[in-house]
Amino acid sequence: MDFYYGMAQLIGVHTLLGLSAYVVLLTGQVSMAQAGFFAIGAYLGGMLTVLSDWHIVPAMLLAAVATALVAAIVGFPALRVKGLMLVVATLAFGEAVRLFWFNFDYQVAKGDIQVGPLGGEGFKQIRFFPENGWTTGEVALFIWFWVVLVMLALWWMDRSRAGAVLRAVGEDELAAQSVGINLTSVKVAAMGAGGFIAGLGGAIYAHYTTHIEHSNFGVVLATFAIAYPILGGLSNVLGTLIAVIFIQGVLVEALRFLGDWRNLLFGALIVLAMNVRPDGLFDARVTRLLKRLLGFKADA
């Protein structure tokens, strides 16, 4: 049973990462900095519970707010450029964050051991869950509480004016600007929201793995972050969740017997999926179809 709880934890954390990229993608911007934001949330969250003995919930929220601030600050210079330049700018920022933690030492003696981040060796002993006697099932439930909360919030946002504004910017910047939408503030807000979700996910990630190091947060993770919403489709938050379940659950776990060939298949499948379904698995047509099948009135 613990194996399935572990799966649920992994899928939950990756869903948060994917959703953080989803918000930014709605405005038509591709941010490769999500792994960097995830790292900031992970290190800050871990430092708050380990070094300052905070409870995990306030630590997570503070880490998320701090990450959101960083994301918004990065947003200003980065959003001067757009499209493909932004991909490169955010990629570079994500790498800079990773390299920062690679060179960052801050250790404090606690009892007879040294705790805290230690450069290339990483940040060990983030033991909030085991120290407080949480079982794997409880941790999984805790993670999914946040995942559902974030998904509901995003779903609600999508149906409100804010969602319409984000999508308007994503569809056509010029048209959005001409109806009086302030592009910069919308994009910075989306970056900030994405940063908040990534920071939240990162803080949870740090606590459930108990050991983080800079190499966890490289380009590969950033690629995964944007791969989930793009593969899943941007018409719905569920697309991201389905893509995460498909990649982490089916490709990584169920195909484990394929060994190393799995990664090869993974690359080939992405290429194939994008050729066959350039709008993602869960595009507008599938959403309409599902709504009709489930008996909702087709309103999209």
Partner: protein, 298 residues
């Protein structure tokens, strides 16, 4: 005072070494920028294809025991072929107005090529041949590695050939026409698909040469090179200005020299952080890049 002069000499020496290594970055940057110029798309599989081509040329080296120059040439050819395959799999059949889809498919290709290399070589680094690696030129107080000088020379030759192709041949005119006005070019009877495909082959050949140069200068090839090379190549492309070939050359040399100086003074772990800062400096001060024009479209 004595120390000061030694520092100046060391700095100059590391700039010199960096400039030579930077010519490889310039080649990679040109590849990204060429494809961007023609298709307005980024091919993220490009650096992986370059390393893949260099790996493919090992077949010639190991089995036929070919001379190093021939190995470099076959790396370029193999990488050109891979470039064409990348075009077919990731760009040809995906609608052009879906930038996210082609971005993602080229990422998938990057993973795929990387994994093929890992599988074929069992993940071990492979030795790569070099020319003049035992020659050391001494000019005044400076030392110049013979193999690096050769790499620099070969890169310059490759760039000159590319400029000749682009500005003096029919193919080059067609490529530039498609880059400037795709619709008008098609109306003049230029096939957009053929031109795009050929651009991938040409940039792939440059990349294969760059991959071979990296193998020659480091002495080994490793699949771990693909990701850092992608990041560096993209940075060079942006600093130089998207779509600008002279920009990519200047930016490649600049980044090479810059990172080598910081590697000398701050060590290898901090080096890339300063390169990122250089990029951010350009994004704030000159977002269109060194030679880029201010444009309003993607």
């Amino acid at each position: 005072m004595e120390d000061f002069w030694w520092n100046v000499l060391d700095t100059a020496q590391s700039i010199l070494d960096g400039l030579m290594f930077g010519s490889i970055y310039a080649l990679i940057g040109i590849g990204f920028t060429l494809i961007f110029g023609v298709m307005h798309k980024i091919n993220l599989a490009y650096a992986a294809a370059s390393i893949g081509g260099a790996y493919a040329s090992l077949v010639v080296y190991v089995h036929l025991d070919a001379p190093a120059l021939l190995v470099f040439l076959s790396a370029a050819l193999a990488s050109g072929l891979i470039g064409f395959l990348v075009y077919l799999c990731c760009f040809r059949f995906i609608p052009t107005e879906r930038p996210l889809a082609t971005l993602m498919s080229s990422v998938g290709m990057l993973i795929f090529i990387d994994e093929v290399v890992v599988h074929v070589t069992a993940g071990f680094p492979e030795p790569y041949p070099a020319i003049f690696d035992d020659v050391m030129l001494v000019i005044g107080p400076f030392w110049i590695r013979g193999d690096l000088l050769l790499i620099f020379g070969l890169s310059i030759v490759a760039m000159l050939v590319l400029l000749y192709v682009l500005y003096r041949t029919q193919l080059g005119i067609a490529t530039r026409a498609v880059a400037q006005q795709p619709v008008a070019a098609q109306l003049c009877g230029i096939s957009r698909e053929t031109t795009n495909g050929l651009t991938f082959v040409i940039s792939g050949m440059l990349g294969g040469l760059a991959g071979a140069m990296i193998g020659a200068s480091v002495g080994v090839l490793s699949p771990l090179l693909a990701l850092p090379l992608t990041v560096k190549g993209l940075i060079v492309t942006v600093i130089g200005g998207l779509g600008s070939i002279p920009g990519a050359i200047v930016a490649g040399l600049l980044v090479g020299a810059f990172e080598n100086v910081f590697q000398f003074f701050r060590g290898v772990t901090e080096r890339d952080m300063y390169v990122m800062l250089l990029l951010f400096f350009f994004l704030v001060v000159r977002p269109q890049g060194i030679f880029g024009r201010v444009s309003t479209r993607d």
